[in-house]
Structures are given as structure tokens and as C-alpha cells.
Symmetry: D2
Subunit: 312 residues, 4 copies
């Protein structure tokens, strides 16, 4: 479990506090507020604040003076309409803040989404913990041959064992040398008083990319949906997908109507190109269409036929 007793106590203390507010409040999300949901071997995701709910999207779209007395079905109709026609601004009116602990190589993919606010734990200022990611055996995939940026079946037996030993050994060794170069214990004292310590901002460069970092990450709902549509996708690297999947659960708690519309229009949908649309029209008219006729590339054809549940 990724938390120290002290951290657990801080989280519980914060969960125990309660205030009265006039703001929109979402009970299902309050239930898990501040709680660390485990991800990978030492990571977590926890919601630390939020603004707005499904009704706030509707209020913004209507520029309302109050919460209104509309029924849920009307709200759902409007939210579906907004999602379908990519009216993005009402979704931007909700905001969520996460505290995430994640391996550095995952953080490097994640930070590419620039439309969020980030405060990362500083390794210039502080000393990183001795925590690094090791894949579970079933995720130790070989290089995919068809797709240059994917992975295939997991390694097994001696090969898997050897990879695990290398990853673990190098992480442990680089951390031991990091500590050695810092020459500073938890109380700020030098274990070897005969020498000075290397600056933190330099020593950190000796750590491997599977060490854990953590950050506060705040994003509006529209951009969160965009992040999730890319990172909960089957093409995303497993390690970041693991985070996206836990975040999808928080989305469902927070804005259930939006979550449903998102599953329908984004996660479960398929985008037909103009050529693909032509091919589908012909098929529906009973005309036989081949990949060559369609003008689609072999790969596009395969992807479309798979989505349509047909054999190419």
C-alpha cells in the first residue's frame, strides 16, 4: 500500500472535516474524497477537490440565474446534444483536482496534455522516496511486431525472471548511489560527516525512470474527457491506462449523465471518414465492397471492418 501511517492519518483528518456550503455538491464523489485509490504497485489517484456537477453544465449552457426546476431527463437531453455537437464550453465549467502518485515515465506521457494545472513534488528541493515501479508478470509484454509502439504477449519463465532482476537491481543500485551522493539522512544530517553532499538537483539525475513522483493535477471536465479518451484507449500504454481507468470511476461518480454521454459518443463510438462512409453506404445498399474499391488503406479498412464487426 502506497501510504505511510502519517499520510493515512492526514487523509483521515481531512475526511473527518465537514462544512456547510451553498455550492453544488455531489454526494457520490464526496464519499471517496481525499481517499487514495491504488494504481500499479505504489501509485494512487485521489480526488482532492471539485467544482460543479451535471446541472452546472446545463446552467452554464443556459447562462441561468438559478438551478432551475428542470427534470433530469431534460438535462440528459441537453448534455447529449452538447456532447454530440462538440459544444465544448459548457463542459469547461466543471473542474476537478487530483493528487496522483505515478512513475516518472508515465508522468512524462501525462504532462503532454498541456491544458491542465500542475504542481509536481520538487526533486530540486526535496529527496525522493525509494519507490519504483516493477511491472506485474502479466504486463511484461514483448515488443509488438505489427505495431511499432505497442507490446505483445508477456514474457515468461527465465526471460521474465531475468528482466525483473535487471529492473529491480538497477533501481535499487541507482537509489543507493543517489543516497550516497546526497549524504543526507531524513533529519538532514550527513551519514558521512567527513564529506559534503551533492546538490539534490544534480543527484536526482542518477535515478531511473520508473521511480515514483507525485503531483497535484487540476483540469476542467472538457479537457479531462479528452485526456481520458486518449489514455483509456486500447492504444495507450498499459501503465497510463491503469490511471485513466481509475479516473473513469471518479468521473462516473462526479457527473453520471456526462459519463454516459461520453461512453456513448466517445469511448464506444467510431469515426467514419468520407471514404469509409461511402463504403458503408454501398454495403447497406447490398453492394459488395473490397478494400481496394473503397480507397481506404489496408490498415484503415481493417480498423473499420473490426469496428463494424465484419471480416475484411
Amino acid at each position: 500500500m502506497p501510504l505511510t501511517p502519517e499520510q493515512k492519518a492526514q487523509i483521515e483528518a481531512q475526511r473527518a472535516e465537514s462544512s456547510a456550503t451553498r455550492r453544488p455538491t455531489v454526494a457520490a464523489l464526496e464519499e471517496v474524497l481525499y481517499q487514495a485509490q491504488p494504481v500499479l504497485d505504489h501509485g494512487f489517484v485521489r480526488v482532492v477537490d471539485y467544482m460543479g456537477d451535471d446541472a452546472a453544465i446545463v446552467a452554464a449552457a443556459r447562462v441561468s440565474y438559478g438551478r432551475g426546476t428542470r427534470r433530469v431527463s431534460e438535462d440528459a437531453g441537453l448534455i447529449n446534444y452538447l456532447m454530440r455537437h462538440r459544444h465544448t464550453t459548457p463542459f469547461e465549467m466543471c473542474e476537478i483536482k487530483y493528487h496522483v502518485k505515478l512513475p516518472i515515465f508515465v508522468a512524462r506521457q501525462w504532462i503532454r496534455h498541456r491544458t491542465a494545472n500542475v504542481n509536481e513534488y520538487s526533486a530540486r528541493y526535496s529527496i525522493l522516496d525509494n519507490e519504483f515501479y516493477l511491472p506485474a508478470p502479466e504486463h511484461l509484454g514483448v515488443q509488438a511486431s505489427a505495431n511499432r509502439q505497442g507490446r505483445g504477449d508477456a514474457l515468461t519463465g527465465d526471460e521474465a525472471k531475468r528482466v525483473m532482476e535487471l529492473l529491480r537491481g538497477d533501481a535499487e543500485q541507482t537509489y543507493a548511489h543517489y543516497q550516497d551522493m546526497l549524504n543526507e539522512d531524513e533529519d538532514g544530517k550527513a551519514p558521512d560527516p567527513g564529506r559534503q553532499g551533492l546538490a539534490r538537483e544534480l543527484a536526482r539525475m542518477n535515478l531511473t525512470l520508473n521511480f515514483y513522483t507525485q503531483w497535484y493535477w487540476k483540469i476542467d471536465l472538457y479537457n479531462l474527457l479528452h485526456f481520458l479518451s486518449l489514455r483509456a484507449d486500447a492504444h495507450a500504454q498499459y501503465e497510463i491506462r491503469a490511471y485513466a481507468e481509475v479516473m473513469l470511476e471518479t468521473l462516473k461518480r462526479w457527473v453520471p449523465i456526462t459519463y454516459d454521454a461520453f461512453c456513448d459518443y466517445r469511448l464506444g463510438g467510431f469515426n467514419l471518414s468520407a471514404k469509409g462512409l461511402e463504403a458503408v453506404k454501398k454495403m447497406l445498399a447490398g453492394v459488395e465492397v473490397t478494400q481496394k474499391d473503397s480507397g481506404l488503406s489496408p490498415r484503415e479498412w481493417r480498423e473499420m471492418m473490426a469496428a463494424l464487426g465484419r471480416q475484411g
Copy 2:
């Protein structure tokens, strides 16, 4: 007063609701939540939601697990440090949402700040109200001669009267013609059943720029401070400054420590250029410095001497 009885009732209904929340809550801001603060003759600003408080800035800067038991003085020290060194990301961790009613020409200045989320009342979809801005007599300034984009003393007497008549007359006439072209009353019926109505998206082009529009506007604290530093400034046009000043009051209620730091480092500070710094050093050393010696332009020199409370 800018609100209809129905709007007032909606606001009061929303103010009457209260929920329990685990989130950081700011009593001084809750006090005025949803209330419309009047601005200009028909406008208002009202806070409709917020996320975070002064302590949330500190928690983000420290990537904390809990609210901590630090004293207010320590939080103030850190917030001052962050403001002084322009560490922007912790301030981005707070967010506020306003509902604003404002003249279109003010909205056009305002929207230039692109780092906010906006939902504006749609004049393609709805019919605008018959409300337009007329300056109070003391704000009817003449064109400034020294500063091409400012205004000087107010017009008086017949001139002032004449300007007011022109502004009022044209606004009333263009609105009457807007209604005439729409040919649609409040219930969606045609006053003149013998003809069709012009599309709303076209008819609106006949309104003058002092008609009021409204929007939901959501922004993080860092970007709000940036907006306020420009729009609460003496160089800003009076009409947008009137909004900024009311928003400063909401800032003070929401994040009082940040507000103090903002007044000290931004609103009340002065940015010395390299040349200006050289000049001040000499003055402090007792050397007489003239504008010519300093390398500053006459205008820079005047601005600096004014800030230093000295005669050029």
C-alpha cells in the same frame, strides 16, 4: 436594479440551499455567493462557484496529503514568496466562476483574456433584453490629448446633454427596429401575423455596442490576478475597471492572504528597468540625475519619478 423578480427568486432559492461538504469552504465568500453585485447602470457581477482557498495554494505548493497544522503566518510567508518570485502554478490550483452582465463593448475587451472559460448568452438562439449602458454624467469624458487612448474631464452642460440624447435615442431606435425585424413577442408569437420574422442571428446586428450581454466566466486564481492587474489599473477604460473593482472585493473575501500579497507586489508595486535601476542607485548615492543622463525616455522618466514621488 438589473434583476427581474423571477431572477431574484431564483437566486434566493439557490442561496437557501445548503449541503455538507468535505471540501475547503470560505465563509466570507459563501456569504455573498450567488448575489448580484451591481456594476454600471444595468450590469452585475455574481460569484456562482469557487474551488480552493489560501490553504489550498499552500497544499499544492507542498503536494500535501492533508490540510496540515501550519499557522496562518507560515502560509502567508509562503504565499508572499510565491507571489514575489512569480511561481504561478500554486495559484492556478484555485478556481472561481462568475456570472457577469456587461455591455457588449466591455465584453469585447474582456474576452481578450483567453485563459478563461466562457459561456455567453446566445443572440443566435435567444432575444436580447432592451437594456443598454448610458454613462453617468461624471464619466462622459472628452478625448484625452496627451494619451490617445484615454479620456479627460467630463463634458458638461449642453454638450453633455446632447451626447446623452444621441446615445439614448440611437439605442432605443435600434432596439425598436430589432424587435420589428424579429416580429416575435415574448410568447413566440408574431405581432404582425402577415409577415415572417428575420432570423435572430441577423437581426442582432442592428443593436449598438452598449447593449448588455451576459456570460458565465470561469478562471483560475493566477489568471484572475493577471486580469485584475490589467483591468483594475488606472490605464484601463473606466467601464471595465468598474467590474474589476467589484471583483477585487470578491478576491479579498475569497483568499485574503493572496489578496494582500497581490496588493503589495502587483497593484502597488513598480517595475524598475535596468536603466531606471541605475538612475535610482545614483540618486541614492547622492548624485544628481537628469532624464537625459538616465537614458530613459521622457515618458519613462515621468512615470518613474511619479512612482518615486519626486518631481522630474
Copy 3:
């Protein structure tokens, strides 16, 4: 024609200049560089600068050291792949700068796209020209009944004539009063020396929303495509669509491979929802599907059936 002889001469002078550059250069775009393409009755779009070309997208995707010796067909394959999988960052590596003259009500829609850089002609600082938009007879649409934010067939006969008279009359009158309040001619002198002029920043509020403004607008290719996908769409208001269509022509000149991919995947494509996809699968399997069975709303069903070229 929207240009004065002096403006034409300035444009021609700039077109006559030529420099040698090592940068990627696109002959088809250079051909029209700086030229004003007319839009609506007094507006224009002109390209005033650009960075990159189709090959620059490929170079960025590959983080290349040189232009490479790849064939066009390989570049097209990669660009299609990037477009299909919404890999946005390589498209962000191209940039274009436009000078646009447009009615204020169009500018207000346009500015909602926040991911561009804008410098607008300042009516605080300068005096606006006496130019306003009047729709051509065929664009004088009535309010659509089915779609609350669209327009239907054009008004005709006396009704059309009356609308035109109102629009023209009010624009002419508000401009005359604008000039009167300013009391300042082209040379900065007061036509009526017996009185002062109202500040420009105030007088402008008397103009109607169909007056023309102008701006420099700079955007990266990815965000330009997003803008065009929304504004060249049939649901966009005609007046902004007129600009988008002229810009599509400049896109075709600038990055022809990207233009083709954009037409295939965005402009001509269709996004099937999860429910829509299920319905299409059934239809392909020869199963009769009705709107009710499908779970789609009547409107979604109509939109999908229209895209598939079938009767609902």
C-alpha cells in the same frame, strides 16, 4: 472593393519584395501572399505570413535532422495516419497569420476560439471607418422554426426591402452620430471648434454590430483545422462560414496533403456513437432497425440516416 488606393499600394509594395531564405517555402501560397481575398460586402482575408509546410509536419513527427528524401506518398501516408488517430502535435508545428476585415458580430463569434493570437484594430485609439455589413438579398433568411439557432428561406418583396432600409438607415445614423460626438475630422481637427469631442473609447459604443473591424490573427495548423471544421460546417452562421470557405482555399494552397486528409476525415466524415454503431451493425447483418429499437433519439436517428443516405 474593400481597399483604398493607398492600402492597395502598400500591399503591392510588399508583394514586390523578395528575399532568399533557407526556410521551407510554398510557392502556391506565396502566389497569393498579402493579397486581399474579398468576403461579404466589405470584408477580406489575406495571408500575411506562414511557417512550415506538409513536409514540416512529417519532420516534426520524426524529430528529423533534415528534410529527408522520402517520397510524397510516404508523407501522405504518415499525415493520414496522424489525422486519423488525432495525433495533434505534428500539425501544431505549422503556423499561419491572417489579416481579416470582418463585421463586429462575426468577430464576436470568431474570438471564442481562444487558441489563436490576435491583434485587433483599436477603437479606443483610432476612429473606425464608415463601413458596415448589409446582407445580400439571398442571405436575408427568416428565423428557422425547426432549429432555434438557424435561418430558413430568404425574405422577399416588401419585407426584404423594409429590413434592408432599417439596417442601412440605423447604421448610417449611428455612424453620423458617432462622428458628431467625436467632433474630429481625418486631420484631427474639430469640425465644430466650439465644443470638445467625446472620448473615442466612449463614442464607439454608439455603433451597431454590423460595423467592420479588422485584426491580425495567427494560429497553428491543428487549431486552424479545428476552427474550420466548426466554421465551414453547415450549422455555422452564413457570415462566418463565408470567411471559413475562403480560408479553406488558402489551406489547400499551403498544405495540400493535409487538406485532403482533413476533407476525408473531418469535413466529409461522420462520427457514429456506440448506439449508432450497433444499429449499423444490425443493418449490415440484414436486420430491420427502427429509431425506437436503436436507442437513438429521433434527432440523432435523423442525422445518422441522413449521413448514411437512407430514409429514416
Copy 4:
């Protein structure tokens, strides 16, 4: 030198190309276009494209039809004014694109600036080179005691030697294991045909943070100035400052007037707080002021007195 012969040849081939263009062109920047400027032990910065020049800033601020016939001194006056009053939008009208090779821990600081476009070399898709950063002896600073995120004097003698051995040894070992796990040589063949290779997206996690990555990075001039004001600052970590300093040289070549204004108002200036301004006013009036009287914190006082060239 960080380039292979093949990379050098690609760069030279691109430099040898020349086209005629109507766009603004900057000879001093063209001179070094595409050339790799060395930074640190294996890194570089090279400009691969640019848009605009000093005159383009002026043209945007004036929303001009042509290049105009203004004199350089007038342009400089306007650019100084824009810089002084933080009018940011005209500077956003210029754009520059860099190709940068840099250690991963530097890339992680750099990417925090979100207002740029980035394409990074993908270690999911490709295999990283065996190149890692080792500090030169004079940069092997100890942890600063006064400033928790800085470094002090360099380590010397055996301590320095030991740190270098640890850094070098761990980087070499983790790279060897990376290769071992990949089991793939430059031609895509398996050195050990008896086993499969671990996926690239996994194997990369074994590398230390001083390995080099590279990216295309494109940014507008305003945001570049912001980046440089933070990263060329004495408080920035040496390794990123080394890049900022090389980029300052490219800035000087590209937009020399803006560069001068930037040095005067940003790099060489000092921001007085309201309290600091009060203290300076008193000093100028001949009143003795102490830190306690001033209301400044001891640290603020030290910083201000240092800027004013006085002893606290």
C-alpha cells in the same frame, strides 16, 4: 560533438537549399539556421524555422496593410512601449521553432512551460541512443545550505571523482541492461535469437534521468521571453540555464530591438513591491530606513538592497 556524420550531412543539405520568399526574412538568423549550437556535453539547440521579425511586431500592433516606411527609431520606441506596459499580443505575432537535444531531467523542467508546441522523440517507438549527461567538474555543486533548491561550490578531489564514477557507472550499466532487455540491434535483429525482446515502452524505464532526449519545440516570441526570463535567471538550475543562454543569442540575431528592450525591462530590471517603493522613497528623502521599519521580510530586504547596490 553531438552529431553523427549522417546528421551533419542532412543539416548541410538543408542549409544549402534556398528559396525566394515574399515573407519577412532575417539575414542574421538565416546565417545560423539549422546549425546545431552545442550545449552541455552532448546537447544542442538549433533554430529550424521562424516567422516574423521586429517589424512584424510593429505591423501587428498597428494592424497594418504593408511594411510601412517608418524608421527603426520609431519601431524601437513602440516596441519599448509595448514591453514596458506588458502589451503582450504584438509579440505573440512572431514564432520560432527549435530542435533541442537535452537530458531528460532538463526536459522535465522545460515542459512545465505549457504554452509551446512540442514533438518529442518517442522511446515507445524508437530506441534511445547511448548518450548521457555528466556534469563538468566545475558544475558538480554541493547542496546549498541557505537555499534549499540551489547548489553551492563544486565538489573537489576524491569526492568529485567518486560522484563522477557513480554517475558514469550507473548510466553505462542501465543502458547495457536496456539493450539487453530489448534484444534488438540497429538493424532490428535479435543479438540473442533464443529469446524475445521486452517492449521498448517498458525497457526505457530502466534508463537514468541524465540520458538525452530530443524534441522540436515551437513557441511564440512573447512566451519565449517569459521562458527566458525564468530560465536565464540566476535562480534557474545551471543545466537549463545553459540552454537559455544559447537561445538568448538566437533571440538577439532574430529580433535585436526586442532583445534590447527585454534586457532593459526584464532581465536587468527589478520589481519593487509597494512596501519596497515606500522604503526607497524614504531613502531618497534622506530618511534612514531599517529592515524592521520597512515592513519587508529579512529576505525581501536583502534582495532589494542587493538590487540597489547597497548594504543592508
